[in-house]
Symmetry: C2
Subunit: 684 residues, 2 copies
Amino acid sequence: MSTQHGIYLHNFPSKPIVPRQTKTSTTVFRFTIRGSLCLTETNNSSKTMTSSNTLRKVQVVSPVPADIDIANSVQPIHISDIAKDLNLTPNHYDLYGKYKAKVLLSVLDELQESKDGYYIVVGGITPTPLGEGKSTTTVGLCQALGAYLDKKVVTCVRQPSQGPTFGIKGGAAGGGYSQVIPMDEFNLHLTGDIHAITAANNLLAAAIDARIFHESTQSDKALFNRLCPPNKEGKRRFSDVMFSRLKKLGISKTNPDDLTPEEVNKFVRLDIDQNSITWRRVMDINDRFLRKITVGQGPDEKGMVRETAFDISVASEIMAVLALTTSLADMRERLGKMVIGNSKSGDPVTADDLGVGGALTVLMKDAINPTLMQTLEGTPVLVHAGPFANIAHGNSSIVADRIALKLVGPGGYVVTEAGFGADIGTEKFMNIKCRYSGLTPQCAIIVATIRALKMHGGGPAVAAGKPLDHAYLTENVALVEAGCVNLARHISNTKAYGVNVIVAINKFSTDTEAELNAVRNASLAAGAYDAVISDHHGHGGRGAVDLGIAVQKACENVAQPLKFLYPLDVGIKEKIEAIAKSYGASGVEYSEQAEKQIEMYTKQGFSGLPICMAKTQYSFSDNAAAKGAPSGFILPIRDVRASIGAGFIYPLVGTMSTMPGLPTRPCFYDIDLDTTTGEVIGLS
Amino acid sequence: MSTQHGIYLHNFPSKPIVPRQTKTSTTVFRFTIRGSLCLTETNNSSKTMTSSNTLRKVQVVSPVPADIDIANSVQPIHISDIAKDLNLTPNHYDLYGKYKAKVLLSVLDELQESKDGYYIVVGGITPTPLGEGKSTTTVGLCQALGAYLDKKVVTCVRQPSQGPTFGIKGGAAGGGYSQVIPMDEFNLHLTGDIHAITAANNLLAAAIDARIFHESTQSDKALFNRLCPPNKEGKRRFSDVMFSRLKKLGISKTNPDDLTPEEVNKFVRLDIDQNSITWRRVMDINDRFLRKITVGQGPDEKGMVRETAFDISVASEIMAVLALTTSLADMRERLGKMVIGNSKSGDPVTADDLGVGGALTVLMKDAINPTLMQTLEGTPVLVHAGPFANIAHGNSSIVADRIALKLVGPGGYVVTEAGFGADIGTEKFMNIKCRYSGLTPQCAIIVATIRALKMHGGGPAVAAGKPLDHAYLTENVALVEAGCVNLARHISNTKAYGVNVIVAINKFSTDTEAELNAVRNASLAAGAYDAVISDHHGHGGRGAVDLGIAVQKACENVAQPLKFLYPLDVGIKEKIEAIAKSYGASGVEYSEQAEKQIEMYTKQGFSGLPICMAKTQYSFSDNAAAKGAPSGFILPIRDVRASIGAGFIYPLVGTMSTMPGLPTRPCFYDIDLDTTTGEVIGLS
């Protein structure tokens, strides 16, 4: 076993770094060291003592080993030690094993009076299908801030969907020397939040079909008798959830026996229009055969068949509710008012109309608590809510960000990730999430890679599972420069919110100095506060120290207040058009269906909500093949839906699949358990 | 706050009790006391000191309050204290919050040399739809053994399905003063085992349809290229899981490039016969509209539609694997060899053929660890595997029972529950579970109620949600005596396994002395070792002290070895017929489909497996209306399926639904969260 102290780095250029001082005596033997990888603490004598005894610096090797090998090479610190570093006591969290803990919402009440730290959102340029390392950059930056720059820091990331983990993409814990660990626990089940969402979503779905069925086979009297059965003394009572429906119907009676036959009719019959149902079942699996299905074909369902579909669980409105809620009471209200479709007379039908809002809240009561984990270098991570900013909201949760901001306090840093390119992830972060949270970011990061910029400059198509074209492996400054139009638009769009924009160039081993300089110059020309080359993949936090310093400066020097892209009190179309303009579109075209839905939602009083566009992540436009910074196109809106509980209107731009499929050789072929050690193998 | 010591009981008859002595100093203030309920420890000076400081005795009130009110009135003990009482250290378990912990399988390795305690299985008479209190009796007996009779005891129960919790039946934590707590955590999510089963089951389902699709659209060469893609150096390799398929095909080559075109064809084409697929998707929700569905109707699936269905998750073969497995390696093997259907040439196709056995194991790696909880009186409970002995195996797990038997050690007691009546639950316990575990029970309990016996004696129908007929509320000894034919057959069937049978009469407030005596006499006449009236519902462990003493005697006085109902090495039909005979049938009738399947499974080499009958729980026969002890009927076998991974053949007797539905007014109407306290309300 190696007991080397200090940091051993290979091929790392420039700049002095500021090593964080830690007490080594208690921590240096925490780590088991396997193979060629090991971790050590610095053993500088305690010049600047800190309260932390969890931070550590990874010793790296080159070339960078497989993600799971790096993750498995590190013995994680007990999560109660990570929590202690955040001044959390065992009363503030529930352990889930040794390396995960759910931080209880009550922490927010306790810290109500505390001041927030700096708030940084990480977006990206328009990505290739391989991803440009946004999670990795988020994690690496935090490792730099925490383990090298002596800052209080919390990383806020989203729980990955198990669909891609077993499908094409693999896990989402970051990569190289910038990862959330234990990587297998992060990618599998975590603390069950997505399972809770699946359960709640599908309970509501079952309630819808069962209700339509029972209404179709029973008289008003029979329905009433069952919904409000007489007790032993012959007395009927409304359950609490029924009062929300009664209120909506304008009935203020509290005794069921006082209802007139007309009121009974209105009360018992939701009269759901089957064609209007937008609520689908979900599953956290890539199951393409559930994209369009017919249900109700059993003989007992008496011919009440209907076409419907499954979405992947992370696309559920309940995931968006979890991401945007601010308290238990708020979550209860949002879940109850989720609209599943309309009655035949055009009124929205809610979860509370179906009597199930309370049960959904009960299923989600633990999911509202974010999960505490750690990075490879021992900095704290809060994992909450879900991915897929293309078909969903795709930001981590307000609750997690708020808790994190209080925990780091003034001078501390919270780095939160927004999905995919800044056109969708950061846009939704600003206009939806910050609106509901009231929080203001000081700095927005845009992650760029030479690879993606070359693609935007006109390089050949990049596809998962296929070897990269030669153009991506050799120097081509002109291609990079041409591609910077994509980056420039993301910079100016993001800058318009009033934040300082920093471009983080996620360095690959094939990048050349000239290419990297070209991006730096283009970034500054486009108005970026700074542009920094970052090698956190190969070097962990040490590789992102420059980025950390730039972020610190950007946060300390904000000149403007937060400005939204659109006001809420204009029409749905005006809001859609403001976003379309930011994409570069010269206009918007609405399908007949979209027109109809916009009219209906406006009539139903929902036009004051923000907009959550469902759009391809591969282009500013609806056409995934249109790289760079397309302009002058007409953005087609195929349909418009509403997530009333989550609190947004949801236009579908072109054709977006909400259920991925499995390829011929899914990731699962490589995944297995070493039944001797209990270790997961083959997870990527 | 009341600081009364000792036990205050109302209306409790006869017999002296043996109070357990405990150290009170450290424990008496553990409990918060709300409303009229409170808990106290006895404060006898320490005559017989024990190591336990978690046991306590509930103070009861009459009439018995609602289950959730009793459960909420008790502050549970931190689960690490319960674990400590079992000599478990923090290395032996993972905490899931403060009141649940997963006990790690490695405990079994550590305790390999330890001797087992006594092993008691709890079955019942043929129940009414209201249930006869089998879980309640299981819990109450353990509270008596642990908190009153000074025995080491562990209760082994099954995790409830969330379907019934939100549907008709409500939770399954026991009832009255005999419950597992926290009751809401027990009934909701628990530690995610059922969610893991759902995820694994549905990943396999998605893999089946995706594979059929990809095979139908690609050449052998294209499939091979994708399944074994060349790496950067142009070399191909098999993933580990592929070797199980190669072995099955008789191909011993290890280099993909060495395969002949014929071998490539055999390797890449599973050639699944769509009509033979028995693997269904699952969901832990009562969703009747998924009983029969058509999938694959999306345009991208190119017309490859097929009819299929969802089962409730607890009916998944993966649940049966979990219940019957004995180690990680054994679980990996079982999951890999699960058969999902046949190839067009009639060969069974397995999960490992699809490349997914390893991924399923990874999804189930934490589920294999049973969950430690506690009873109202502080005795330990292991919760594992699932319910539904009618459509599934319905016993708690071998792993949990084994760990429990080692933890209590010689002289200690493990009480494990088998689902529904002894005809299905206990029968499967003996012939399937004990066969795979090699464990031998000393005592079998049969839970009976006056209510159910009256029904078997000819009383009017009993239905959930409807008031009980007068016959059940007033004395009618003749009706009870007539119903004892049902009890008598369960006694003689159970006794035939070589165990001592004890009848536990679960006392209701409407039962009369004469009725109770009639059951006691009939039990002894039918060969029961003892028959005991038990009032654990109204009095907790104290109400089951007599039962505990009887169980102790029965365990200490076993005369015979375990005898199975049928040997394994006879034909499938002979085994089915042996079980049918135990039901009282005079013969068995097989459908054409059943004949075909039996022939096929026999040909495939699966005839040596035990039998897991899917039969109504409401009668010995296939006809739920045939109460008492029907005989002379012909048992119809509609279909036969095989759970090769779990290890049994699975005949369907008559029509059994594997997906429950929601009623007009499901339980969820009453369920909500008190968003101020975070407490669940309305759960029953």
